[in-house]
Each structure stands twice: as C-alpha cells, then as structure tokens.
Symmetry: D2
Subunit: 485 residues, 4 copies
C-alpha cells in the first residue's frame, strides 16, 4: 500500500494457425494489469504484416471493440502494460515499439531497466542515430538492429546485443516469423512460457497467472540469460549467456509486485508471502487477540502470521470495490477521505481487541497512519503493525520506481520513530536475512535486495533511476545543456 511501482508486464503468443491472437494478448495483459496501469499496447502479426494499437489507460479502456477490430487476426502477437512516472507522456512511451530495419521489421516489449543505457545511447547518437523516446527499449532495438547488419538471424543479433546490455530486461521480441523471449543473465525480472491447449502454440508472459488467463499450461520459467525462440519449427533455445552472472531475482516481486496466484522461478508467490508472515511472527511475536491484513496486499502475510502465532485470523477491513483508478474524491479534505472511502474497518472484529495489523510495506507512512486511526476509532485496544518487507532506503536501478528519499519515512526515521508517527503500539519489519528465505525452490538461489541493503548486483556507475531522465513531457532536458547551435 504505497507509492512503489513496477514498470511493466509483457506477453506474447505464437499460434499454429491464424486466429484471434489479439484476444489472447488482451486476456494476458488483463491478468498482468497490476504490473502497469498507465498504458497498454498490442501488436499483431498477420502473415508478416504488423498491426499496432496502444494508448494510455487500462487494458479494457484502451482495447474497446474498435481497437480490437483494427488489430484483426494473425498468427503472433505481443503486448505490454506499463507504469509511467508522473509527468511523462505515457502515449509516447507506450510499448510495444515497432521498428522497420534493414532486414524487415520487429516489435519489442520490455520489462526492466538497463544500467548502461546512457553509455549505449551516447555511442549510438554519435553514429547519427536518432531517438524518439527516452526509453531503454529504443536503445535495445538499435543495438539489435546494429548487430543484425552482420548476423544471419534476429536471434543471433539478440545474442550479440546481450553482450552489450547491462541491467534488468525481460523481453518479448516479434519478427515477421518468430516470437522470441529473452531474460537478462541476472534474472532480475520474471519471465515464463506455456503451451496453449490442443497444440495450439505457445505463450510467453511476465507471470504465470497470465498463462492461466488464456488457458495455457505452464511449461517453465525462461532461464536467466536465456533466449527462447518460437517459430514454425517449434521451440529452440540459446543459452550462451546463462550462468554468466549470479542469480539476483528481485525479491520484491514475491513480496509485493507479483500476483499471489503466480509461480515465479518455481515458487508460489502466495506461499512466499505466507512464509513472510510466518517469519514476521517469529521475529516479532506479540500477545494479541486477532490478526488482520490490509486488503489486498497484506492478506497473505497476515494469514501466515496467524498460522505461525496461533492468533486467530479475521477479516478486519472492507475494501470498497468501486474505487477505481480514476476516482477523485470531491470536497476539501480529499486525501483523508480517500482512505476512508477505500477502507472501512469491521468494528465487531476489532472493537475491544488487541489487533495485529499486517501489510507488505510502509512507504510514506501517511496512509498507514490513517488506517491505524480508523482501527482505533472502531475500538481497537492495541494495534501492532507488522510489515512483510524490510524498510526501503535505497533507489532501485532495475525497474522499480520508488518514491524519492525525502518521501520515504524509513529513510530518515528509526523504527521507533515510525511507530510513533503511525501511532501503533509496536512495529516490526521482517529482516533482510529472512526476506531472502521466503521464496523456496531449486531456482531461487539468489536475490536482489539492494533497495533494502544497498548491495547492487551490477555496476551502477552510469545507472540512474529512470525518472531522472524524464523531465516534463518525455522530452525534457535529458541531456541537459546540450542545445543545438
């Protein structure tokens, strides 16, 4: 519950015959909507012809009947949902991007953030290349096109390009004949694929819940560093980059971003959160009457806390399901009202009780403070806050957009101070150490926890938070004082 944002979700489908692949992508993106709400886009490939439609808005806002009709049928399609930082022109940066290059055309959807894009971009511009957006995705397409001039295939070009790209990238490429899934060697962001029923083809998605959404059967996660090619000959793989870097999956995907019904690198997100709740109960036990979670993000960890502690779980809040993205509270004290409109405590559950309140994060602390006040007004005798993520104190360079330092309550306050600010009787965060243990599977061998402990797994000398590049409407002084003579 706060101002932390994943940047993207990607989806792709390779069908064995011409059909309504756009609808598949629609359902897939709809299931990935939590990964990005600013813009949505789909590109369909019908016998080599690309049709594209993208716009700002939620998937079901962007893709009305007219838009779906424009996209038409095809054998392949890819799609993208994107979160955008305030002030940028979401429409311009909407993905997938489609480019024409010397060997044909290519569409590309990207989740993640490069750490050397400014270096690559400078080199490209010095050779006369021009950029329409500030996004890394355009850098990736240039590097790939450059390699394509000498490489015999698009996948070989991608393989070469990966020697130059640094940072986080889960990609879905579409050429006129192939669908290609790519994951960076660190495996920062999730990516998996599955089979459509009845041998209908293949589906690639950021999370497995999107495979479920189209009735596809989960096949496996794309390996860190792997290139998976889907074409008329079936599935092939290039693994030159596998094992070239330490696995550093973003642990926040398990804690916060991903949907609980997804499996990532072999581990159920729901179970990881239950486990986080259990760790919290061990690390920060308390004598209390009831455990409740803040909907929807805190419910799994609250259940875990209850299981481990034996304190009964109950439903503590009703979330008004009519609160939508575009909702604006009228009247003056609108920020306060916004919380009250969204959440209402169930007085019979908390009145006169010692309450354990679980959520997955505290960002600014203001929303949290209002929620605690609602509980106390409803009669809660004690409120014990438990948080299933450690405090954020460092910026992320791999695709997560966190509030700037001055807004992060944990950056400038101790736990005790925060407890006072949000007015709880006790406050406990899960430790970074235990955070690394919440996801359990053969593939879960390493995590990026840089936002908690500052241990960045890659060189970040030239890296910067994406939104530093994006001033005003997408084409600001990114390159500062460079004004043309």
């Amino acid at each position: 519950m706060g101002q932390i944002h994943e940047e993207c979700g990607v989806f792709g489908v390779y069908a064995n015959e011409t059909r309504d692949v756009a609808s598949d992508v629609y359902y897939g993106l709809f299931a990935l909507q939590h990964r990005g709400q600013e813009s949505a886009g789909i590109v369909v490939c019908d016998d080599g012809v690309f049709s594209v439609y993208k716009d700002v808005g939620l998937v079901n806002e962007v893709f009305d009947r007219g838009a779906m009709e424009k996209l038409g049928v095809g054998t392949m399609a890819i799609g993208h949902v994107r979160y955008g930082t305030t002030g940028t022109d979401g429409r311009l940066n909407a993905q997938p991007i489609v480019v024409n290059h010397i060997k044909g055309r290519m569409a590309l959807a990207h989740n993640g953030n490069l750490t050397n894009s400014s270096v690559l971009r400078e080199r490209l511009e010095l050779s006369g290349d021009i950029f329409h957006t500030t996004s890394d995705t355009e850098v990736i397409s240039y590097i790939t096109t450059e390699k394509r001039l000498t490489e015999p295939s698009v996948e070989a070009a991608i393989n070469q390009a990966m020697y130059e790209l640094e940072g986080a990238y889960s990609l879905v490429f579409m050429s006129p004949t192939k669908l290609i899934a790519v994951r960076d060697p660190n495996g920062f962001r999730p990516l998996c694929y599955g089979k459509l029923p009845d041998g209908g083809g293949y589906v690639v998605a950021s999370e497995s819940c999107a495979l479920d959404a189209v009735g596809a059967k989960f096949e496996r996660d794309v390996l860190p560093g792997e290139i998976v090619i889907f074409d008329k000959d079936g599935v092939r793989t290039i693994r030159d980059h596998c094992g070239t870097a330490k696995r550093t999956m973003c642990v926040f995907e398990y804690i916060y971003f991903a949907r609980p019904d997804s499996f990532i690198d072999g581990c159920s997100v729901h179970e990881a959160r239950i486990r986080a709740g259990r760790f919290l109960a061990k690390e920060h036990p308390v004598d209390a009457d009831v455990v409740i979670g803040i909907p929807d993000s805190g419910l799994d960890a609250a259940l875990g806390y209850s299981m481990e502690s034996g304190i009964p779980y109950n439903i503590g809040f009703i979330k008004n399901k009519y609160i939508g993205r575009t909702f604006i509270a009228p009247g003056q004290s609108s920020r306060e009202n916004q919380v009250r409109m969204k959440l209402n405590p169930i007085a019979s559950v908390v009145s006169g009780k010692r309450v354990v309140l679980v959520d997955d994060s505290i960002v600014r602390g203001t929303t949290c403070a209002r929620i605690v006040k609602l509980l106390r007004d409803a009669g809660a005798k004690e409120v014990h806050m438990r948080v299933s993520a450690p405090p954020f104190v460092n910026p992320c360079y791999y695709g997560t957009d966190i509030d700037s330092h001055e807004h992060l309550v944990a950056y400038s306050h101790t736990v005790d101070e925060i407890a006072k600010i949000i007015d709880v009787d006790t406050l406990g965060y899960i430790s970074v150490e235990n955070t690394k243990k919440i996801a359990v599977s053969d593939m879960c061998t390493g995590f990026c926890t840089a936002c908690f402990d500052g241990n960045y797994p890659t060189d970040t000398e030239y890296a910067s938070k994406k939104n530093r590049f994006e001033e005003k409407i997408s084409l600001g002084k990114g390159k500062g004082d460079r004004t043309d003579e």
Copy 2:
C-alpha cells in the same frame, strides 16, 4: 455470486449550516454503491432552492467535478443509488425524484417495493393524475401530496399516507426545511441515522457503513413504522405506525446485500455471516483439508465454517481487481472467459487438497460450475460446496430482483441434481430455520424468508415483481391493453 439484485440505497444529510452537503451525500452513496449500480442522484436544498443531478452510471461516473459544481452548497441533501432491470431507461427512473406541489416542493428517495401500488395508481389516475415513470416512488409522492392538501405539515401528510401504503419502503424525504426518514411497519429494508461530528447535524442512510463514510456516529436504527423528522428544532419522531405489523426484516440483507462492515438492527452483518458459516459447518460437516470462500461474497461464511469445523482457512482465489462494471470480454467464448478473467485459483493452496468451497448463493449454477472446474484444473482432489443461503424458489415482492423461475437452478432441481450440475463431491445449503438465527440482537425478532419458503408477510394479491411492469424502455405495456381511443 449471481443474478440477484437489491433495488436501492438511500442517504440524507441535515446540516446546521450551509456547506458542501453534496459531498457528504457523494461519500454516503459511494459507500452504498453495492446496493445499486445503475443510476445515482443527489438533490441539494439551499435556502429552499432545490438543485438536482442524476444520471445512469456509478456514483463516481455520474458525479464528476462539473456535476458537483452544479449542485453547489446547501443545508440539506438527499441521494439515491438504484439497480435497474435490463432494458428499462435508467435515466428516467433515476431517483431522487423532485416534485412541485401545492405547498411547495419535495424530494424523495425510496428503497423497497410497494405491494399495492397498482391499486393506488389506478385510483390516482382516475382522478386525473399523470405518471412520468413506472416507479412506486411517484405513487408515494402523489399520495403524500394528496394528504398534504388537508394536513398541516409534510410529516403529518406522510403519516396519513402510510395508512395507504403497503409493502416495503425505507424513505428519505426532503422538504424546503426538513429532512424526514420513514421505514415501513414491517421493517423490510434497513434504515438508520447518526450524528455528524461537532454537532454538525444528522445523517440518514440505508446502512451504517455509509455513516462511517462521512465520519458520522451511528445513533440508532429507524424503527419499523417510524417517521423521524430532522429540522431546526432537532430530532422528532412519529410512531403511530410502530408495532402495527410483525417485524419481517429481509434476511437476505444479512446474507448477501449489505456490506459486512454494516450493523443492521443492532447486528453486525459480518458476524451474521460468520454465524451462517458456523451453522453450515454444523449442518453439513465434511472431512477436508482447507476451507476457501469465493471472493468477495463467500469469505465471511468461509471463515465461520473454518472456525466451527477447525479445518484451516486459506485464500483460494485471486480476484482481478481491474474487472469493472463495464468490462466486456473480447473474443468468442466470452462468458466462460469472463469467469476466468475475474477469478484465478491459487494452485498451491488447492492442489491435491480436499477443498470446502463456500459462497452465499447459487443462482443459475453456470458461474458456480465454472469456478468448480477452475479448482479441479488447479488440482483440487475433492470439492465440497457449502452455501450460506437456502435455495431460492419464490419471487420477492419487496424490492429484490431475482432471476425468473426458469433460470433458478434450485427451482427445478434437487440438491443432488445441482451437485451434479456444478460437479461437486458434496453440496450443502444452510436450512431456512438456521437462517433465521444468523442475525442476533434485541431488534432481530422476525425475518422475511419468503424467497426461500414462500411465507409472504403481507397480502400479495396485487403485488408483482417490479420488472413485470417494466417492459422495454420504461414505458411499456404496463397497463397492457389500455390504449387511448
């Protein structure tokens, strides 16, 4: 989860000084949105001048900035949300209605359904009255105006009118100087009022959750048969009709309609549903591994089942929170997809498990069957369905819109047959007898369970389901063959 609909929610505010009362109503209606999603309306009274705005759509769709500005400030306001049957012109029937009559003007919002409106209407038309809508609300305003010709005040006129009205009505009236709350003698539909903070005035609402939404303190439920008047002299009451009928609160309000965070007639809705779940566990025990509820409606009863049975509660489904009212699934098999898009099981919770699945109703059975299939596809070994309402087999004449007989699976099938249709291992409904025991308080002395057992608490000879009157766009052959010569 199905095609059962409450018809309305009402809200009113009496403020001690001129201010943004429209925003109060906005917040109140937003909290009552679950009681009606077709249209919304607000009438503000500023020094005797009425401003009205209403339209089809959700509260936050209808009341954009422009609409709120049009309403302006005032000392009183009332509002309404309405569910409308398919095909009727929601705009025409949107409430509150405002009428000018001999003694001034009056605004009126209504929740419920009269059982003698056709009789009253015929009498009124025979005296030259004309009707713009098919709604009972217009009948109530005529009867009240008729009485007002000879009575000294609007509340006295309402008191007289109540001798003629039969059926279910929770009303909020607004005259240029008074706010008046009225509940029918049977008390079919809920109605309560509270105090604004700092002596700011009074608030009337269908459910207490709407009092919470504006920061008002719950004062008490309006008694069945009571008229409560709010004006410059404070609160007064007329109780001539109290005790003239048996209390027959709609039990379905507790099971299904009302929000779990509301208290109705002294009983928490959440606790009533927990209790329903406990009764289910006693009536239909089963040996199983996990209890899950269908979100959001089945969660409370599932928790109750778990508490009583000792079988662990878990989160079984993720509900896609971006599913909105206007969502349309593209592609061909859209109905099936609609379920899959909305709900996805958490495989790690149900795979290989014997699952108790709880919901509050089975209407047509089709949605339920699809949900069961999702569970089985996710690996559930057994599925035991438990329903916290008895089977519907009778029409409601008091304001609930249920599917017609031919669509109600319980009407034409035994429990065993239904179990086969929805493909569950066992199926159990709560008994009607226990249903009457789920709400516990001093005021909960009697319930209407007619939709389950056919015991209608009032004469229904001239009653009819509202939607029989409404054919096509609101002005159909209501009176059948009566065509003007």
Copy 3:
C-alpha cells in the same frame, strides 16, 4: 448573429407499417437543429409500447448507435430539439415528455410559450397535482388529461384543453394509436405536414426543411387553431378554434429563426429575406462598391440588397467550418479570438472598397463591432451596416429568448449612437412597417412584431419570460417564498 434563441423544434411521423421510424425523426430533428441545440429527444411507439430516449446535446451527439438501437422500430414516433436558458438542467426539461394517465399514455412535444401557465399551474396544484419540471409542456399534459376524464377521445380532450391554453403552442401529440398536430389560434409558431413517398404515411414538422430531410412531400401548413389527427383511418381535422384569433405569426421566424430553404405559411424564407434586403436598399441607399453579408445569417438579405441597389454582391468573409458548439478558445483574450477564429475577411474583396455589410440583427453590438474592425483592418475604406430586422426593445412572451434589457444595445442607444459603438460610417435598420411586408402569401395576413413595437397580440398580465421562472437548476425559488411547513 447574437444572443437570440428560439426555444424548440418538433417533429412527428405516422407510418403505415412497422419500421425504423426513429431514423425518420433523427433526420427531421437534424434538419431542425437550428431551432434548439441544448437537448434532443425521441419517443417511438411500437404497438402501443413507448420507448423514449432524450439527453442534453446535439441530435448526433444524443443519438449514437446505442441510443438508436434502444429506440427500436415502431409505427409512430415524435421528437424534439430544445434550446435552454443558461443554468437550467437541460436533461430534466428535455422533451418529448411521456405521461401515463387514466386512459393510457401520451407523449408530447411543444414549441412556444404559454402566457397563462402560472394561472393554470396554480389551479392544478390546488387540486393535488404535482409537477416535475417548470415547463409549460407539463401544464398542457395535465389540462389535456383532466379533459380526457370526461371526453371520449384524446383529440376531443385536446380540443377542450385549447379553450384554456393561451399563448404560443405548436404541438405534436402521440397516443398509442394516433399522431396529432396542434397549432395555437394565433399561429405564432410554424407547423406543417407532408406525405411520405409511396403512401408510407405522414410527417409533421416545425419547418418544411425537415420534410425534405426525410424525402416527404409538403402537403400544407397546419392552420392556426387547427387539430390534425393522423391514424389508421388517414387524416382528419378539428377546426373549432380556427379563426378565433387574429393571425400573428412571429415575423422573426422569417428574419432569423427558420432555415432559408423552408416555406412557412406559403412563403419561402429565403425569398422573405431577399425581400428584406431589397427593402433595406430602398430605405437606406448608399453609394458603395460591394455588398457582403455576415455568414450565414446575413447572406440572403445581402443578396437582396445587391439586387435592388445594383451594387455587386461578393463573398466577404470565410467562416471556419470547424467551429462547433463546444468550441472553447484557449488563452486569455478568448472572446475577441472567438470572432477572429470564426470569421476572416477576404482582403481582396474589401481592401480599398466602400463596403455595405448586411446582417439580420444587432444584439449586444460587441460581436458586430469586432467584425467591423476586421473589415477595416483588411483595408475597407468605408463600412455601411444594414440590418434586416428592426431594433429589439421588448421581451418576447411567446417562446423567443432574447437577452435582458441591459444587454440589448438598441434598448438604451439611438441608431447614431450604435453606429458609433460599432464604428460604421452609416447604419440602417429595416422599418417595422416593411418587416410586415417581407413574407408574402395568402396565409401571411398578420404578424407578431411585439419585440420591435410592443404590440402584444394576447393578454400578457400573467405572462413572463420563461427564464424568470427558471432559477438555478430547474427547481429554484420559482414560487419564491412558498416553503413547506
């Protein structure tokens, strides 16, 4: 060019078989759009069932595909376009209105303004009737319903009602089996009917251009005081009220409101305006090089001035055809820009020339002054303004909404003063006397020129400009101090 507004246009169709009558009304209303741009509505009658759809907006905005589908097919339909005064709730007052009464139901669309509606309304309210709107139309429906209690048919009831109604009314009624056209005895507002091709039925419209729009053949004007009934037996007429009052057709219909391609009471509107231009040339000759009109309203009279004077006609302005109703000029000096955006002079036509500039009215004078300045900036040597209507100095009680006195430049200034204000070399208005001669036909035997000379053809003691009744959102203090006790 100014702030003068007609209140309404009406249209009706009676078809000999079930078909898409809503589309006929759509085309008819679209052709009458100039008579009212605030709201539009259509009611379709299909075998006695009425379907209604109305909303604020232009015809093509209100009636999108969804709205047309809702209306469906039928054998009869009526429609209405309305101009609304600022601040009133257009949606509430949108017509046609549909009412249910003792003998069935009735739909009604009205153009004009009663002068005794306040008297009638008071009598009706004293008998217990209630009013939803402030419009005269509701009064008419009550009076008609009242008569219907004792009369054998709806047309007989209308005939009786006409003994009570005073003022301007051109009406289209629809009962479940009949379409009825009614025009007040004075014939203030136009109304005519025609035949659909191939014996398809009949069409009633405010102006003949709407008959053209549906391919109907003009049959004749409805006579002042006449009731024309269209039903399965063909066309019948009741003429009890014909000849009971002097003919006083609104002369401003010819000068300003009606479309030039319409014929009203036997006279072409275009020819009437040509004639007005000729009179202007006779009354106010001038030595000049070119005659131009302000588009679109001044073009016909400019051509007439050219014909009579022999001074060449030319096109003096280009009107930007993308200026729409909802257009808002950005930036600060928006009012001035609004004129410049709408009109641009053709410099080659006016530069160095003595220009005669013709328009149909001067209301506030500000727009006119800006247009004259545009001409001078484009090089016009002299500007001689000629106006094809006399100065407005009196309010209209028959359905025309003119600016209040303080805004009418003619009310407080002499012609010489106005000439200075708008900066023209000479200024000439047509005389009231000649105005009465511009429409020439057998039926054109008398006109209402009250807005010019104050000779009101009916008693106006209880009359008032409609907008005095309408304060704030439609239900203001119309009846002032009457607040309910």
Copy 4:
C-alpha cells in the same frame, strides 16, 4: 466535393519572450484545419525543453484544456494538422515528430511528399537506422541528423540535406534555439511567414489565413528553395537552392485546397477561383436563369461565372452546419441520406429555372449525381454543370491523396458519358490551359498540373502514392517480401 485530400498544414511561432505560444499554434492550426482533419500536434520549446502533445482528432478535440496545460508556456512552438489515408494508424503518424540526436533535439513538421524517400530509406536502413513510421518526415530527420554530424549548425545540416531530398516539402523545424522554415526548390506547397504585433516575434504558416488567425501581419512567402531562420538575432535566410528548379506550385491549392481568404505566392485564392469561374463562362457559355454553387467549395467560381456571363447569382443550397466530421447517418440508405442531410436546395430559387451549377471537382460522380437529383426534385428545369478544375486522370506524387483510378469517373469516361451519369443537360470543365492562368502574380510563374495532364515536374521513377506504402495499420507489407530470418 469529393475524395481528394491534402496531406498537411504546418505552423510555427518564434516569440521574443516566454508566453502562451501553444495558444498561438492552436489558433494557427485551427485556421489550417481544412488541410488535414485526421490528427493534430503541437510541440512547445521552453528554454530548450520540448513538450509534445498530439493525437488523432480535430484541433479542438485534441487540444482540450488538459492538453493545453500540459504543453505549458515557451518561446517557440510548432504544430501540424494531418490528413491520413484510411486504415493507417493516425496516432503513430501524427506530427510534429520530435527526435533526440547527437547535438541535442529537434522537432519537425512536414507538408508534402518526397519522390525519392524509398531510395533514401533503403540507404539509411543499410547503415543500421530504424524507422518507427512510414512517413517521409522520419527520412528527413535522419538525413538532417546525418549531415549534422559534420555541419556546424542545424541550418547548415538542412541545407546539405536538401541536396538529397526530392519532391514536395514545406517544413517547419524547431531546434532548442531556432525556428526554421524550408520550402522545396519547386515550391510545390505554400509556405509564408509574418510578424506578430508589437515586435512580438514571427510566425510561419502553410497559408496566410493562419497568420490572420493570430493577428500577425503577412511578411512574405518563403521562396522555393529557401531556408529562413528565426532566432534571437532576428531573421536570416539561406538561398543556395533557390532557382535550382522550375517553379511548379500545385495549381490545385488555388482551385481546391487552400482557403479563399488566403494569399499564396502573391495571389488571392478567392480571386483565382473567381477567375476560374470566369474562364468557365467563356469556355462553356449557356443560356440560363440562375447560377448557383455547391457550398462551400463551388461558391467563388459560381460568382465568377455569374460575373462573366451576366446570369444572376443566387444561393441554391442550404448546408446543414451541424454536419460534423464524426457524423454517422442512421438507418439503411445512409449514403444517400448523408447528401440529403448535408444539402437541401432552396426550391424558390431553382424551381422552374434553367440552373448553372458550379463546383470545383467531380471525383466519383455519385455525390454529384445525388445533388443534381435534389435540384430536379426541387423543380429545376435544366441543370448545367460547370467544373472549375479539369478532370483528374493521374496520380499525384507530391502530397495529394486522390482516389484510386477505378473510382475516378473521369479516368474511364468521356465528358458526355459523365454528363449522362450525373444526369445534367450540359457539362463543362475548365481547360488545363486556362487553369494555369487563374493565379496571377509576379511569383506565379509555373504550376504543377500533373494530375490533369501527366506532366510530372520531377523524376517519379521511385515515387509512389503515399498510401501504397501504407497498408493496414501503418506497418504493413511496405517492403513486401522482406521478412526477417
């Protein structure tokens, strides 16, 4: 009246201080709306920071209050309106385009069509460049960026780029410090500039009517081949390309595209059309009673015909001013209705008369045939059609989008055959020879009449009509069989 479309209008402003330059562009584009109705865009430069907003829709649809606020203030801005061929994704191809390159950034708006863009594009792609759109504008920006790597300034780079560009281009460039206007050496498309009042700066526009729209004073036309630079030092010019090609201004700008109130290359468009009408009267005289034009395109030439022939001019049709771009006629026979809804003859003008009907083109003939039928139905005794453009028989490669051959009635029929098809008594087109004489000024020394006579002024070996490149949504099989391996 037909299916001929100009591709674009451009506008730019250089202000001497920071202010609301976006509004200037708004007004300018609004005046150029007739040159393109599919999309509109504005880029504002504020101290080197570019803000961009563009979308499909008319200027006043795209630039609502929110969009204008996003653009903010600045010292420079450029804008563009675009016509797009059916099926292409207007949003993707909307201009201006903004690119980041090695020396900073650049915005660019383009009117016209290159004839060697496929050649240039192939060369660029072979060096690794990628293209996001199919538009020539992207080619121009690449070529300019390429030159900029070695040239000392953006204007020098443009000057070098012009050695490579062939075909029609009127361009407005914006660098962080300069506004630059460029016109191709042939001068196919118009471009001019003017001064803002009070030394406020400079304005560049496709047509002089857009200078009028912002109150700017026309300074002069940009010369064919000229580069005009506006920056803090005032106005400079580079004329290396002036006189390197024969002047071949598109004559269709005078006949059809441009607004009558514009001056192009020293000649009034209105006067050119009057002259076209006069030539028509000389070439195709006829004995008739009245001359009328089809609004709005045929009015000027009709007036010219009347002046030359002495046959009286009159207003023959009323055009419904509520017909908007998005208008959709309901019902079945919608195409026929569309004409009837748009135009209605004034029967009193044409009934019993021998009518000369003037328009500026006949494309498919179907619309024209319907209009002639309307006249005959209104009683016209004879109809003599006169067309102020010669028959189109050749494709345009310079930026005009004409229907394909099979739809052009003149391509496959003689004048006599066309006269029969549209059912006129006589039909006369202006001759190509006289067409070249309609625009008279010192600058009007040569015209492109290729669409009439096939004399293409440049090499068209590699040229193609733009829409051949654009199949399906913007990224079709433009390069056909080139599919990536």
